[in-house]
Amino acid sequence: MNTMKDFSGTCPICDAPVTLPSDTQVSEVISCSYCKSKLVVESLTKQKAIIAKAPDVEEDWGE
C-alpha cells in the first residue's frame, strides 16, 4: 500500500506504474517489477518520480 511519502512514476519501457519508497534518491538505479527493465530515477518532485531507462554499461564501469 502506498504511504504519503512514497513516490510514484511510470516505467518508460512498459508504461507500468512504479512506486518508490520515501528514501529514494535521484540517480538511483531501480528495476521495473513488471518488465524487469533497469531504470534510473531522473528527478523527484513532491510525490512524483520521473524515471528513465538506465544508461548502458560503459567500458570503464565497475569497481
Binding site: Q25, V26, V57, E59, D60, W61, E63
Partner: protein, 284 residues
C-alpha cells in the same frame, strides 16, 4: 559537524547502504553527482569536508578525485591509490615490486610478443583481460594459439587504443571459487567466497557469495597488498593455490551489497567510520 561528500554517478544499493550507515552514525552526507559538476578551481565551492569516491565510471571518478585533492579536499580513495588499482597492469607491477604473491603476468602490444610472453609465464592457458574494466567483462581464457590469434586480432581491429595494450596473466586453476576480502586501512574486516561453476567467479556474473573466515594468511596478504597500493578502502580478489594465497586484482571502489548479509559485518558502517577517522587525522 563533519559532512561526508559521496561522489557518484548512478546510486546503487551499495551507496544506499553507505548513506544509511552515515545516518545511523550521525554523519551528514552530501550526494555529489559528478556528471552535474563543473570542476573549475577558480569557482568551485565545496559544501562537504571530505569525499568518498563511489563513481561507477572509473574515468569520471578519477578526474573528480584529482580535482578535489587539488583544491584541498581529502578524497577516499586517494588519486594515488586509485591510479594504481584502476589499472590491472599497474596493480600487478606494484604487487610484484613489493613481493606480494600474484600470478605471473606480462604486457605486450603484438601477437609475436604475446606468444613469447606466454612461453615465459609457463604456457597456455592464460587469461587476457582489459587493463581497465570490471565485473569480469571481456575476460578471455586462452587455451591455444588459435584463440590467442583470434583475440588479439579482434582487439587490434575493434578495440579502443587501450585495448591494444594486451595484459596477459597466468591462468590459475581454482577450487571452483575465489576469495573477496574487504580491507580497510590494511585490515581485512571480513571476506566472502565467490563460488561458480564458471572460471569467472564475479558475483556480477552469477558467482554466489558465502562467508569466508579471515585466516591468519588472508589477514597477512591483505595487509601487505593494501600497504603496497597505498591502503584506503579496498576489495581484494584472492586465489587459493597449492603454494598459498595469491592476489589476483584489487578494487578501489568496491561493491559489497551482497556481502554484508553472509559475513554479518556492516561494511558500510566500517567505510563511514574510516572516512571520519581520515578526516580527523587530516584536521590535525
Amino acid at each position: 559537524m563533519l559532512t561526508l561528500g559521496i561522489l557518484h554517478t548512478t546510486i546503487r544499493a551499495d551507496e544506499k547502504l553507505i548513506i544509511e550507515a552515515a545516518k545511523k552514525a550521525g554523519i551528514a552526507t552530501q550526494l555529489i553527482d559528478v556528471r552535474s559538476e563543473i570542476f573549475n578551481p577558480a569557482t568551485y565551492m565545496a559544501n562537504f569536508d571530505i569525499a568518498l569516491e563511489r563513481c561507477i565510471s572509473t574515468v569520471k571518478g578519477t578526474y573528480a578525485t584529482h580535482f578535489l585533492e587539488s583544491v584541498g579536499i581529502p578524497v577516499i580513495n586517494s588519486s594515488a591509490v586509485a591510479s594504481i588499482c584502476e589499472d590491472k597492469f599497474l596493480t600487478s607491477l606494484v604487487l610484484e615490486k613489493n613481493n606480494v604473491p600474484t600470478p605471473a603476468f606480462a604486457l605486450v602490444f603484438g601477437i609475436d610478443e604475446a606468444r613469447q610472453a606466454i612461453e615465459q609465464i609457463g604456457g597456455f592457458p592464460v587469461v587476457i583481460k582489459p587493463n581497465v574494466g570490471s565485473w569480469g567483462r571481456l575476460l578471455a581464457k586462452i587455451n591455444d594459439m588459435d584463440a590467442l590469434e583470434a583475440i588479439i586480432e579482434h582487439k587490434d581491429v575493434l578495440g579502443s587504443p587501450q585495448q591494444k595494450a594486451v595484459y596477459i596473466q597466468k591462468f590459475i586453476e581454482k577450487p571452483g571459487r575465489d576469495i573477496r576480502a574487504f580491507v580497510i586501512d590494511g585490515k581485512a574486516i571480513c571476506a566472502v567466497y565467490r563460488a561458480s561453476e564458471h572460471w569467472i567467479t564475479n558475483t556480477a556474473r552469477g558467482g554466489k557469495a558465502t562467508k569466508c573466515l579471515v585466516s591468519k594468511e588472508l589477514k597477512h596478504i591483505s595487509k601487505i597488498a593494501s600497504d603496497a597500493v597505498g591502503r584506503g578502502i579496498l576489495a581484494l580478489d584472492v586465489f587459493e593455490t597449492d603454494e598459498g594465497l595469491t592476489i589476483n586484482e584489487i578494487n578501489h571502489t568496491m561493491e559489497f551489497k551482497n556481502s554484508e548479509e553472509p559475513t554479518g559485518v556492516s561494511i558500510s558502517s566500517a567505510i563511514v567510520a574510516y572516512c571520519v577517522e581520515v578526516y580527523k587525522k587530516y584536521e590535525k
